[in-house]
Every structure is written in C-alpha cells, then in structure tokens.
C-alpha cells in the first residue's frame, strides 16, 4: 500500500483536465455516428472461404481476418489507441448474430426515434448484395426464429426472451491475468493444453491460439501506423507521442506491460478485441482500481510518472470507452435507450481481509469522471460499512456533478446474495458490475444476466381476467378465473402462483434453447482465453467453460405489483369498500368513466415507497416466490437461474404490454422506473421513507442486480454540509442492506419537464423556507422562480 494516501488525495483533488483531453473529447463527440459494415464484409468473406470448418474455427478465423484487415486509425494526439472501426462511435453489424433486423431497419436507422445512426448510401448496396444473401437463414437470429420463434412471440407480453440476435456480453473478463500474461503468455498456456488435449478439444485450443496470434498482429499494426505517422510529422511533441505509442503497441504484442501507460493500453486492446469478436453489450473492466494499482505505484515510486500524467492517461481511456457504441434494433433501443455499452468499472469496496480497498486510483477514477462527464465508463462505487469517509464524500461530490455517476453498490448485501447462488466467499467478495447494474464475479463467470425480463404486472393482469389479455382479448395465460371468482385474497394469490409457474416454465425452456444455440452458433474462443475455467476444461465459454455459469431473469415491476395487490387486498377483501366486479369492470374498460375510482386508488390507497410495511411486504413476498421458483431450475450450462430487479428503460415498452392495472395505472402507460423504485409521483414521504420501503424487498433475492433511481436537486451538493449529509445517507443505505442506488441530480431542464408533465414528477421536492414542498404543488410563478434560482446554482 502507498503510505500517504491523504497526500495523494489532496494532490488528486487539485488536478485539472489537460487541453489535449478537452480536444480529444470534442472530437469524440463531434463526429457523426455511422453504420459500419467493414468488419461484416470481412467476416462474410472469411465464412465463404471456410464453409467446411467447425463453427468455432470459423469464428476464430473471422476474428483473425478482421484483426488483420480492418482499417485502423490513430489520432496524432491520442495517448491510448485502438478502435474496432476507423470512425469514432460507429454502429457495427454482426452478421453471424443477427442480420434480418438490419435488413428491415436499414432505411430507418437514421430517423428512428431512439439511437439514430447514419447510413452511407453505398453501404446499403454492400449490405444487400455482399452480406445479406450469404447469411439469410444462417444467423443466430434467423435460426432462433426458425426453431422457437413462435414460442418467443407467444409469451413475449409476459416473458420477453433476450439474447436472440447478438452475442453474449455482460462479462467481466480476467483483465488482471491478461495484463500479467499478454496474448503471448496466454497463447503459451493454450499451447501446453493443446499438446495434451484429445482431438475434440484440440479444435478449441487451436481456435484460441489463432485469435491470440491475431491479437498480436493487431497490436503490431497499430505500432506500425503510429511509427509511420511519427515519421511523417514535423511537430516534435506529436512525434514523441506517436513514437511512445508505437513502442508500447509493439511491446504489448510480445510482452506483458510493465508501466501504467502500457497497462492501460493493454487493457484497452483487450476490450477492443472482445468487442470485435462479439459485437455484444458490455465487457466490463470491473475492479480496475485494484488490479491497475501496482502499475501506478511502480511508476510513481520510480518517478517515471506523475499524478497529473496518470490522470491524463485515465481520462484518455475514459474517452476511448465512449468511442465504441452498441447498435441495437429499434425495439431493443427502446428497452435500452441511449446505446449503453456498459464498460462498467467498480471502484472502492473491500479487500479479501475486509479492509477498505479504496486507493489513489479510486480517487483518480472519480476525478476523471468529474472531468469527462460522459456516459462511459459506467462508473460504479462499492461501499461497505468500513468505507473511508473521504471516499464516500468524494463519491457524493461527484454524484452532485449530475452525470448520475458513480452509481452505488453495497457490499453488505451483495456479497451474501451472491454466496446464496453458490459463489465462493472470495469470489463474492471480489464481485464486479457488468452492463448497467448486473452483478458478477471477476474473470470467471458467464453470467448471462439478461436472459429474459418477466412482467409480473402482466401476469397479475391475466390472473384477474381469466388468462385473457386486457389489451387484445386473446387468451394468453391459464384460465384461472376472474377477480370476481376469487372468494378470498388467498384464492387470488393461489391463482397468481399458477399463472407465474406457467410462464416461468415456458420462459426457462425457451431460455435454455437460446443458451444452447449460442454455443452452437457463437462460440467465442478469444473471450474463452480470459475467462477462468475455459482453458482448464477445454470448453468454450458459451458451452459452459467458465467456473460460474449463471442466468439472470428480471422480475418486473415490484412497485406496480405491490400497489395493485395493495388496492385489491385493502378495498375488496379487507375493507370491502369496493366490489370486485366494479374494479374488474374498471380495469376492462381502462377506467373509462371511472376516474373518481382511479383517482381515489392513486391518492388514497397506501403505496410502495412510503414506508408502509404491509404494502412493501406484498412486494417482497412475490419477489421471494419468483426467486425461489427460479432456483428450482438449472440452466443449459449447469448453473443456477437467479433474479434481477431492474429494467433500465424497459419500464416504458413493458408498460405498453400491460392493460389498466389496479394501482390506477392506465393501459399502455409506463411501469415504475428502475426496478426497486416506487411508481413515479407516488412516493410522497421523501427519500428516507422510500429507502425504508426498498429495504423491505430482501436484497438476498436480487443477486442478478437491482436498480433504484433517486432524484436530487443540484442545490443539495453546493455546500460542504450538504455533501456530508448526502454521504451519511449513502452510509445509511449501506446499513439498510440496499444493494444499489443511482442518483439523478436534477437541473433546470428537468424542472422544466416537471412543469410540463407534473404527474411524472410528483415526488420532486424543493426547499421553500423552513420546510420542504413538492415542486408541482407550487404555483407556476413560484416554480419559475425556483427554476431561475437553480440556474444560478449551476455547479459545473
């Protein structure tokens, strides 16, 4: 450990972003996003030439071919180089995984509502003539449609099956070993296994070696390009930079990194190549402040690097994380809006000995976040009861900058939750985050964290309406009866269980097929080289080679479920103030002509998020039921199914699948956001009550990840005292065993939206004088005043 962390923290707190970083950031953001077909073309050609080979060798050779041939680009000022396309932020197409949707959406990519990409006119013909014809009927997407397409669409309103048109992501590779061994070291290990392997396994190791050799070639190509550019420039500074970049690239091809700069470049190459092998969402560096720390200390101790230089390298990497974006189909873009790619970095947390793990790098990461304020990396902070107050304070301060990061994860609840899934204590202690909020072990897990999303609210709708969809009138579920048939609340619960069991079973069967088809169509030998277990077992990661093989299903959405059942229990069975027939009719007619009942339900029946324990317990009861039911199944790779409680932006499209619900929500309206959040505007008792409610959903069940959104005004973070109080709230969250929380620090624009759409912002509070009031309850002129006030308070 470095002796004087306090001095380091003080030095880091004063660091500024360099002009070079500012220029690179500007370039990153200003370049328009285009569809890029170059790799797709290369891959297609490679498959055409190797049609007779086993799929894993085809995949290895395709990656090899891409690494050898793809156009590469270096910006003269770059400290960290490499991308999977010559353009910044291009949308990449992976024909092996999914091609049909691109064909259908090619002409609308540039004007779809979410995540637009430009398409060059010549690329349309390249796609339709050179790529599409070969892949038609052969891609994972097409094969899944062919084999189980009907089943997927039949259950989709309740269980949306994912991973049907792209390769597996949401993986935290063993970056630490990659840095220690490099491609050459890993290749040597694979070679030893190869020599002792049976004929069947030889193909796997051969594929691994092909990709690792190609990785070396790729690095050397960057070395050569940088060298050539150095020769061509007259600017001494640029020349020096390019020569250093070139030296590093050549070195990394054959050796392990020894300096901090080399290690960061090596890390980035790993992630670029992973993204080239599998155009997937989220490969996560995980606890980079832990495994990169020795490199930083080495350089600082030997005086070959200063703290400002270290920060500049980190910020250069932060920008690179924003240069790879993920092109999704338009439906998926609705569920995951804003092309999140999920380079998730987790800083802080604890060591295996239970000591505070935060170090100078944790603070440098937070400083970089403060300076860059872009969507990537998805910066997470792990907190536990022993977190250093300085670290918690710094997290709070950066959260106040408004980028929504770092998001907070809680060791106290996550480690036991992971251990419940059979994960060993040391691996659970070393957990990381992938994608948005999904939990994983480090470097040894295929977590398949987004296998499916299960709509609990839709399942309740079917339970109340004899299995018939309120929106279409079609029979979707089991004919368990109507709300009016259930004599007791217990009868209703039993019917709901039947409905859940029915769809869970169909969902798992389908997920298993999808899982096996990934092994069949998208084996990933390069990824397998950096996931513990695969080389040892000689089994590809997609086929169960990893040490841990989990599958995550998201249970959606606790708030609407608890609120709906609370209405039914309270009004129909306990109070008997409402006839079951009246409520059923209101739901069937989308509350038409019954706004009084709807308003009464919304405003007068207790809701999740207000520290009302009986309502919260209803939510917990069904999460428990769902989670326990899942744990009776085993996935295709021999691992457990477990539960996640998050939606990202899926609460909107999933709400479109649900008719009117008994919580007063109208048909098609969004569900509650997040996963653990209360229905917007219905948590009226402030943040402490919300957190108390959330803490009643036992975090042990959310081992795949949970999501709670909270909103704060920037004003709160303007004073030292405010930040300290916020920090103490974070520590309370730790003590309440809440696994995750992320914060929206609201600005002027948000308040303007609140004015236009007050229903969605009912819970937003503002400080008035000696008291706090709800923003939307204030008169317009007063709201205007507050808006004017917050714009003075802009902190950036």
């Amino acid at each position: 450990m470095r002796k004087n962390l306090k001095a380091d923290i003080l030095e880091i707190s004063k660091l500024k972003s360099t002009d070079r970083i500012k220029r690179l950031k500007e370039k990153t953001l200003s370049e328009p996003r285009y569809l890029s077909l170059e790799q797709a073309k290369i891959i297609t050609k490679c498959y055409q030439q190797n049609e007779h080979l086993p799929r894993i060798l085809q995949r290895a050779k395709s990656l090899e071919s891409a690494l050898e041939k793809i156009s590469i680009h270096i910006d003269t000022e770059e400290l960290i180089v490499g991308n999977r396309t010559p353009g910044i932020r291009s949308g990449v197409v992976s024909p092996e995984a999914g091609i049909s949707w691109i064909d259908e959406e090619l002409s609308t990519l540039d004007r779809r509502p979410q995540d637009k990409f430009f398409v060059r006119p010549e690329d349309v013909s390249v796609f339709r003539e050179d790529i599409l014809p070969f892949w038609k009927g052969k891609s994972l997407e097409d094969m899944i449609k062919y084999r189980i397409g009907t089943e997927i669409s039949e259950i989709k309103k309740v269980a949306k099956i994912n991973q049907t048109d792209h390769a597996q992501g949401h993986i935290c590779p063993n970056t630490e070993d990659w840095l220690k061994l490099g491609p050459s070291g890993l290749k040597a290990i694979a070679k030893t296994y190869y020599e002792n392997a049976s004929t069947d396994n030889k193909i796997f190791y051969e594929s691994v070696m092909i990709t690792l050799s190609a990785a070396q070639t790729f690095m050397k190509r960057y070395g050569s390009l940088a060298n050539q550019m150095a020769v061509e420039t007259d600017d001494v500074n640029l020349k020096n930079n390019l020569e250093e970049v070139s030296r590093i690239c050549f070195k990394l091809a054959d050796e392990a990194p020894s300096t901090f700069h080399e290690a960061i470049q090596s890390l980035w190459f790993l992630y670029v190549i992973l993204q080239m092998e599998s155009n997937a969402s989220s490969f996560s560096p995980g606890r980079a402040d832990q495994y990169l720390y020795p490199y930083l200390i080495h350089d600082l101790t030997n005086n070959v690097l200063t703290m400002p230089e270290a920060l500049e390298i980190i910020e250069a990497l932060w920008l690179k994380f924003n240069q790879i974006v993920y092109l999704r189909n338009s439906n998926s873009a609705k569920y995951f809006a804003g092309f999140p790619i999920g380079f998730n970095i987790a800083c802080g947390g604890q060591t295996q000995d239970g000591e505070d793990a935060s170090n100078a790098l944790s603070y440098l990461f937070l400083k970089a976040q403060e300076h860059i304020l872009l969507p990537q990396p998805n910066l997470s902070a792990r907190l536990f009861k022993g977190s250093a107050p300085e670290f918690v304070y710094e997290c709070s301060r950066v959260i106040g900058m408004g980028s929504g990061m770092p998001q907070i994860f809680n060791d106290e609840s996550i480690i036991p939750a992971l251990m419940r899934q059979g994960i060993k204590e040391d691996d659970a202690t070393n957990y990381a985050i992938v994608g948005c909020v999904e939990l994983t072990t480090h470097g040894n897990n295929l977590g398949w964290s987004d296998a499916a999303m299960f709509n609990l609210v839709k399942a309740l709708e079917l339970t109340l309406n004899n299995g018939i969809c309120l929106q279409t009138g079609k029979q979707l579920g089991v004919a368990t009866g109507y709300l009016t048939d259930y004599k007791t609340y217990n009868d209703l619960e039993e019917a709901y269980k039947k409905q859940l069991d029915y769809f869970i079973d169909r969902m798992i069967t389908t997920c298993d097929v999808v899982d096996r088809m990934h092994a069949e169509f998208l084996p990933s030998p390069f990824l397998s080289s950096v996931i513990d277990g695969c080389l040892e077992k000689g089994i590809d990661v997609t086929a169960g080679g990893a040490l841990y093989n989990l599958s995550g299903i998201q249970a959606i959405q606790v708030a609407n479920l608890a609120d709906s059942l609370a209405t039914i229990k309270h009004m129909i069975y306990d109070d008997k103030s409402l006839d079951a027939s009246e409520l059923l009719h209101a739901l069937q007619t989308n509350y038409e002509g019954n706004d009084i009942l709807r308003q009464y339900i919304i405003n007068r029946i207790p809701k999740y998020g207000n520290d009302v324990s009986w309502v919260d317990h209803i939510g917990n009861q069904w999460v428990e039921y769902f989670s326990n039911k899942l744990s009776t199944y085993e996935n295709a790779r021999g691992g457990p199914y477990h539960t996640g409680l998050y939606t990202v932006s899926a609460h909107i499209p999933m709400g479109q699948n649900v008719g009117a619900s008994a919580d007063g929500r109208l048909s098609n309206d969004p569900l509650a956001d997040g996963g653990m959040s209360a229905m917007y505007g219905r948590d009226k008792q402030g943040p402490t009550a919300l957190l108390k409610s959330v803490s009643r959903i036992n975090s042990i069940y959310g081992s795949n990840g949970t999501l709670l959104n909270m909103k704060f005004l920037p004003d709160f973070f303007k004073t030292d005292e405010g930040i300290k109080k916020f920090s103490s709230m974070l520590m309370t969250i730790v003590h309440l065993n809440i696994s995750h929380v992320q914060f929206n620090v609201l600005r002027k624009e948000d308040l303007l939206s609140a004015q236009k759409n007050p229903d969605a912002f009912k819970g937003l509070t503002v400080r008035v004088a000696g008291y706090t009031a709800y923003f939307v309850d204030l008169a317009t002129d007063l709201q205007d005043e507050i808006i004017a006030r917050t714009s003075y308070g802009d902190i950036s």
Binding site: R397, T688, T719, M731, T732, H735, A769, A773
Partner: protein, 307 residues
Amino acid sequence: MIGTIFDIKKFAVHDGPGIRSTVFLKGCHLNCIWCHNPEGISPKVNLWYFENKCIKCHKCIGSCQNNALSIQEKPLSHIKIDTEKCSNAGTCVAICPTGALCFDGRTVSTQEVFEILMADQVFYEQSKGGITLSGGDPFYQSDFALDILKSCKNNAIHTAIETCLYVHSDVLEHFIPFVDLFIVDMKLYDTYEHQRYTGVRNESIKFNLHYLADRKVNLLVRIPLIPGITAKDENIKNIAAFVHSIRDDIKIELINYNVLAESKYRIMNKSYSLLHNMQSFTQSELNHFNQIIKNEGVHVLEEIHLD
C-alpha cells in the same frame, strides 16, 4: 398525551446537525407578518382546498351534513368553504379522491409522533442527526412538546427545538434536560419594532436567551432576513452585540429571505402583508450582514459553499 401538529418532515437537513425529522406543532404566540408557515399560527385545525388537485367530482358537496361546501364561479376558487358552517367533521376529506380537500393539521398522540420519528432512526444514527420540534412555536403546546422530547431523549435520539422563546422561563427550565440544541429565532432587537411586526414585545425573549445561556445549554441564534424589516444593519448589529454580551460562544446563522412564503397565504385566502416581488439577498449582501456579526465578535454559522 395528545397534541396538534401540521406536519412531520422526514429528511430535514436544515434544522440542526445530520439528517433529521422535524415535527411542526400548531399554534404560535407571535404573528409575524412574514411568517412562512402561516398555518402554524392558529392552534386550530382548518379545512384547506387545493384547486389544482380537484377533479370537480363534487362528491364533497353532498357529503357535508352542514352544507358548508358549494360551487362558485371563476375567478373564485371552484369549491367554496363556508368556515362558519364547517364543523371539521371531515366527511369531505374522507371522500375526496385526490386529497384536494384536506386539513391543515391533525391531532395526534405522543406515541404516534414518536413512532413516526423512530421510523428514521437508522438515518439519525448514521448521520449523527435526530429530531427537531418546530412550528408554529413548540412552546405553544409546551406539555405536548416536552412529552415528545422526553420519549426521544429516553431513546438516545438527539433533540433540537426551534423557537422564538416567547415562553415563561419556568416552563423553559423543564425543557433543558431534554433538548440538545436550542435554535432561537431573534427577529428584531428593538422592542417597539418587535411588537409592531410580530405582535408581541421581546423582553421575555431576551431574558430567556440570557437564562438559557447561563444554564450552559447548546444554543444557535437565527435571524430571518426580511427586507426592510429585520435585514437592517443596525438590527443585525444590535442582535449580534446582545448575543455576544450574554455568551461569546453562541453562533448566529442568517436565514435568507425566501420569496416562496407567499404561496401558502393564497391557499389560506389570507393576504400577505409584505410587498410582492421582494428578492432574496445576494451572496455579497449576505457577506455584508455576516461581517456586521463578526465585527461584534460573534461567530457566524455559514455553510461552506463549494466552488
């Protein structure tokens, strides 16, 4: 014991150290013309009507046995409450689907308040926070206030009380063992001015501050800055000098004028006597007032603003 409150605010972060819950008790002996919690002045519970929440279902009108509710034409509010006829029976409040009709306070027991406060105990523990009694003025219902404080203190919860100290010192004495922090509002030093703007003279307030200071209790003095009334150099200087004369470790905190106070007056159909469109003080104006305090040798409690 039973008392009347008009609110309990969780996550109160400006009423003492840490994260707190603040109980607002109804009733106040003062009647400050700028009062930002006007519903706290009257000890009685009144019916309120929020037109922006009303869906005009008119269920309330038929529900009232006293015929106290009727519809009226714009620009008057949609529902008219005849306060003469209203008996606070609450049938309209119970039936209103949106909460547009509600009471501005409620009667509660000490135990009920205590349980609501203890719900956030974990927040108090982690933030070194606690509970604060405010109002109105907590001393208006002094027995009830003391009862709440005792239950909290007995459970090791940090307690604060926010008051204008317009109370007999015999009553005050009983509170001392159960209050960790007295937050005292000093509005105007001049007795005549004090009477003019708050309705009462301030000799007893000054005496009580002295009294508390002598008893070595933890004290914070707050001055609300009301433009043209309290926010005058001379007034600030006099209060600071007075505070310094009684004990030199007492800090003063200035509370900036907040233009939002007007909103509640409208709901209550009360006229707001202050001029419209008065502005909050700028940071440099606040610095000026703070300097006056410092010149008297008094420490200013100032939140550190980050760059």
